[in-house]
Symmetry: C2
Subunit: 761 residues, 2 copies
């Protein structure tokens, strides 16, 4: 269960892939990506819910093993490193979400003889899975390999943006089979998930196509596929539930499996290429033949690797081997989503179930409550073009749906979590001047999304009560705090566009958080619409996702959520010293009464790094003149709550947010207010960082003596000049330059403490 | 509850619609259409499950009142003449089916003041319906009117192919409102019916658009709409479940209602035009503005009426006023479906949930187990162009789905009933030389649909056992008989295309019915795949739709289902006299042991005119030399089991089949074998029939002395020459000509009895 040492990992690669041996000479950055990090808890510890399969940056296809027939909440990505069984390889996955969905078009090779062919329908009920061992499993960016112990089959997988490429090496003299399962993952109670309609169509003896229309966490998804094999299908068994159809060309139903039989006795590999589309089998075919026209598996592996290298190359770091593995795997994870669901010709199924077309692509999987905090700000630095694509995709939901995404999955809104955090993402992109979208349309969208009542967003009540009453909308304290932040973002864009009245109005709304501040308890507390505090109150009491004023957390954790007005929060708390004292208590108070929400993990006192509400809190010491405490806790988290094991994350990866936290923090700064263009300095973990930026600019962070001992900033220079601010700006970075730190084992309690040096004065 | 006399009906029309008063001077054929016929059982008798609303021939929109919030099996068309409550007016309905579905986009006008506006959300739960009385209700082809007693609102409705047109006359000084309900009809257990997603979007103060995506009898339907009003929407309340949103532009959800408030105090009518589409709101708008560009309600009524006049004008009849009402209402009902679901630009959502385009339209609602018997043969005579459209639409399912429709609803297969009766429909059209489709593609489709295993059609078992074993597929006797008939149809097309081997093979399959003939009991009986008769056996025992060898009937009713080889059936029975004696018993034996299936009704002995398996049986006497008994029973059914009341049908109308039976039989002949181009002569009910045919041909049937007493054919002439055959052919009809009958009160037991005169020699 321990993570693979890099050497063993590279060795495995060199055996299976001659192309890649060059990596040993000039190690590519992709060689530091270990897709097994975060794939499974070690001895009851924590995991990221990451999957190890093959994908390309921001691609629609994530081809990965599912270690359960019916992946549930605890293996929402489909894979758990603790399992020793593989049900098959499905083409779509979510990276580190709390809820399971997708798992489309499962392929599984197996072996059998003619005699057992008649038993395929019976076997369908129990699956075609195989045991496997991590000893015979490997993965890197864009490539996954495993030996299926029950069949002796070596499986290799790679991917393009819209297609998966499978390579199955069967034992000699075996009768090779491939089952395609269109009902995989649906036999569980979550979200009433079930297949409404599905189809297989044997196009010819080398090709099969089909689709499944399925309900789930995404209300309704259409998934079309087109598959080609390098060998002819000798015979096929199409199966609907318990009924088997021999050598039939076509089958419609809801519980469909296809078993395809091949001549594999000569030991030459069976290759399968699978194109996906949300629109039609024709488009799935177009995607496939465009992206994988030939049969050179290694070439596709190399192309996937090159795409990853291009993305990772945007940030070059120096540090320990372990740090580089953590860093580049984290950077890799941030680029797994959002996913471009548009076909190569631009077609995609939109939120109103009509076909739209966008030549620039259409991105989905917006886990915004998580990613607006750090993942999206990171994209503004290293993915400006895609950031415009994300914004335009979110604006297209606004056009068709009337408001921006809250949690968009497969192009559809599932209303998961609270707030409207497409707003900070879009405002941040607009204020940073990311080109490629219409800033006026963006303003229309963020404003209307802040005034149009919709599920989880009763703005008329917000405007009426100036806080969110718990009896109007549960999770009301968290909602009030996060809504006030979103309002501040709207105000900033209004200001930029000289919309004075709007600016004033939304700035007023951004202060509503104060209406839930209870001076007596010293916490943000819930009220009903009668204006009275809800009692009893216990600041340690946890809420989940409803029925309690706090979202996946407690009053202690939500106390700190005023990123738009930390100064105001400090004032409410009673000034700097009371504020830092309260932070000290927060990081040391480890009582956990009642049921701790499953998302809360990675504790330091009340701080829970495993969930997003805590993510900015370590950085708040800077605002009150004690930056060395920020440095202490950030270093502690970077060095203790991330590692290279399958348990390398302190909680769900959440579509890149846990990784983005590390990427930023390891570089030395973090976007506490993610739409402010300001990054608050923590402590650099890497000895050197070079960020490649647009217009051929480079931003370098040097901390040559950073180490596990030297976690404290002694002094800093920006572009050669002494630098005492505990923050840097977007412009500091994008203009290019060098930020240098001298680190030491003891706090320098004079650096960065002056009022003028603080992120907010 | 008694039907409206024609005079009262015409009077009502003349009051409300000046345009139509001309009908009193030169009665149009549409004046004989009484849409209330068959809309509700009178005193526990029978009904056709017809709806009285407004539609145009073969149009997508059927705008009709729903007298229940949740129409169930017993009011599957949405309307029961026994009800005194209207829930609203929805835009899509099924005419006389056994199962409920559609009921899309319900509109309901009502009145209320500002004070009660806040109560709309509460009211949403209980509905906005109103009481009504048949005294203030009227309908004709393409027009429906009712006074809503609770509100004093006069509602008038008309339709085009893709749009509904509403005219609401509110009381003076009232506050007029219209609710649009997107969740109407879903709160019932049938087929797991529920809304997956829905949307309202206030386009401007005169327009609202939206959609609902819904599961049901059709697995998944997308219904988009676009509505324009002639008055501005003063204010709106959008409602999702129990939550009300005031004056919001847009709402997404699953339990959606929109309440729109208008200034109606001046008493001028509020007009609403509603376009529908399966593709998008844009297409719904295109449909609307193309078909109803202006605001002239009366003009749309007149256009709808003219369309109906064109269809009805294809058969001119002379008879009693009541006979003409029955006849033209029946002819009207045959033209309500199949429906053209393609938008005016040809777009439609196909069976694989992709958007297809067919400039010639795309027809759906194929209740083929019912309509292949007589409705489709009728279309070959008076709707040849649409018949080609029907065939091409069915072939497009074959292309996308691998086999032809069994029961196609809203473009989707629901596998209702047994057999593959698109085959006789297509073969019939091909053999009759209907132009406009590719006969070779048609053959490919019928052959592959007869060899590709699919739900309800295990052809490998059929080929293996040479009958359908009950333990392979239930309803096996009915399946065996109907499958054998379909096979005969395939053989006929194979023969025409000189596919000799196919012809021989399918002719052999068409004889498999003999393998279930039990000489001991003298009935078709079920076997399991062990080849043994299932026991005990009771020929009176009813089956429903599974779990019994007989489909919605018993062994007595299915005994007669060998239309492809009546001669063979006569031989099995033991010759003419045993055959006619068995028919005599059939029509007089009235025991009904066990539970009679709900579809069995309209009994004469074991004969059940209310369901399709019986429909051809009266005509079988002709095959055994006793045509006067055919004449007796056909006359009895025409004169006793059809009338002009709301209970005017002896059972479900079944999408035109009950009506087509009457249209044919009242003219004097019926397609016993619907793909043989042969019509068997019964007894003419009409004194004169003139059928307008392609190439400007006319076929006339004269029976000047036909009456309730004179039901027996004394002699006949075809084109002036003595005619003793008890059948005519498609060519006799389409060549044009005159068939004359002399009728009398007593059988002429010499006419039509010779072997040479029988439909099969």
């Amino acid at each position: 269960m321990t993570p693979k040492p890099l050497l063993k990992y590279l060795l495995a690669l060199s055996c299976s892939l001659p192309l890649f041996t060059s990596a040993q000479i000039n190690p590519k950055l992709t060689s530091y990506v270990n897709p097994f990090i975060g794939t499974g808890a070690v001895k009851g510890s924590l995991s990221g819910n990451n999957y190890p399969g093959a994908t390309v940056p921001f691609g629609m296809v994530q081809l990965s093993p599912d270690t359960r027939d019916e992946p549930e909440w605890d293996a929402a990505c489909g894979y758990d490193h603790n399992d020793n069984f593989i049900a098959g390889f499905s083409h779509t996955h979510l990276s580190g979400t709390g809820a399971p969905d997708l798992f489309d078009i499962l392929f599984m090779p197996y072996t059998g003889d003619e005699k057992t062919r008649a038993g395929n329908a019976q076997q369908a009920g129990s699956g075609y899975g195989s045991r496997f061992s991590h000893d015979h499993e490997s993965a890197r960016a864009g490539y996954y390999q495993v030996k299926l112990d029950d069949y002796g089959i070596n499986v290799e997988l790679t991917a393009t943006e819209h297609a998966g490429f499978h390579k199955y090496t069967f034992p000699k003299n075996s009768q090779g089979r491939v089952v395609i399962d269109l009902n995989h993952s649906t036999k569980k109670p979550n979200f009433g998930c079930h297949v409404i309609a599905a189809q297989f169509h044997m196009v010819n003896d080398h090709a099969i196509e089909g689709f499944r229309v399925i309900t789930g966490w995404a209300k309704l998804r259409k998934v079309y596929f087109y598959t080609e094999f390098n060998k002819p299908v000798k015979s096929n068994d199409l199966i609907d539930g318990g009924t088997q159809y021999f050598d039939q060309k076509l089958l419609n139903g809801t519980d469909l499996r296809a078993v395809l039989n091949f001549n594999t006795g000569d030991g030459s590999p069976l290759l399968a290429k699978v194109g996906l589309s949300t629109v039609s089998t024709q488009n799935a075919k177009l995607n496939l033949v465009t992206e994988i026209p030939g049969w050179d598996f290694n070439q596709t592996v190399a192309q996937a690797n090159a795409k990853w290298e291009t993305e990772l190359d945007k940030i070059k770091v120096e540090g320990t081997e372990q740090q580089k593995q953590i860093f580049y795997t984290a950077l890799y994870h941030t680029c797994i989503q959002p996913n471009n669901y548009a076909d190569v010709n631009g077609d995609y199924t939109a939120i109103d179930y009509t076909v739209h077309n966008s030549k620039a692509g259409f991105y989905s999987t917006f886990s915004l409550w998580d990613t607006y905090r750090a993942a999206n700000p990171l994209y503004t630095l290293i993915q400006p073009q895609r950031t415009a694509g994300f914004v335009n995709s979110m604006l297209s939901q606004y056009q068709a749906y009337g408001y921006l995404p809250i949690w968009q999955l497969w192009g559809q809104e599932n209303y998961c979590m609270i707030g409207n955090h497409a707003i900070p993402v879009i405002v941040d992109a607009a204020l940073k001047g990311i080109p490629g979208f219409d800033i006026r349309k963006a303003y229309e969208a963020v404003k209307n999304s802040s005034t149009t009542d919709h599920p989880g967003s009763p703005f008329k009540a917000w405007e009426k009560y100036h806080y969110m009453p718990e009896n109007v909308l549960t999770q009301s304290v968290s909602v009030t705090l996060e809504m006030a932040y979103d309002d501040w973002c709207v105000a900033q864009l209004a200001k930029k566009l000289n919309k004075t009245a709007d600016y004033a109005h939304f700035m007023e709304r951004s202060q509503y958080f104060k209406n839930l501040y209870d001076t007596q308890s010293g916490f943000f507390r819930a009220k009903n619409n009668d204006g009275k505090w809800l009692s009893p109150f216990n600041p340690l009491q946890y809420g989940g996702n409803g029925g309690n004023p706090y979202t996946e957390g407690n009053a202690w954790q939500y106390y700190w959520y005023v990123p738009q007005d930390v100064k105001g929060l400090i004032a409410l708390t009673g000034g700097d010293s009371k504020f830092t004292a309260k932070l000290d208590t927060f990081f040391t108070l480890d009582s956990k009464p009642g049921e701790v929400n499953g998302n809360a993990s990675g504790f330091i006192g009340q701080y829970a790094h495993g969930n997003e509400p805590s993510h900015h809190i370590t950085y708040l010491y800077n605002y009150a003149g004690q930056p060395w405490k920020t440095q202490y806790y950030v270093a502690k988290i970077c060095r203790e709550l991330y590692n290279t094991s399958s348990s390398g994350y302190a909680g769900n990866e959440d579509c890149g947010q846990m990784s983005a936290w590390y990427v930023f923090s390891a570089m030395g700064f973090y976007p506490v207010n993610p739409a402010s263009s300001v990054y608050v300095i923590g402590t650099p973990v890497m000895r050197k960082v070079v960020m490649q930026l647009p217009l051929n600019k480079k931003f370098t962070v040097l901390a040559p003596n950073s180490s596990a001992d030297n976690i404290y900033i002694q002094s800093a220079k920006l572009n050669g000049k002494a630098y005492t601010h505990t923050f840097i700006t977007q412009q500091d970075i994008t203009s290019g330059g060098t930020l240098e730190f001298v680190m030491g084992p003891k706090p320098n309690e004079h650096w960065g403490v002056a009022l003028a040096d603080r992120p907010v004065k």
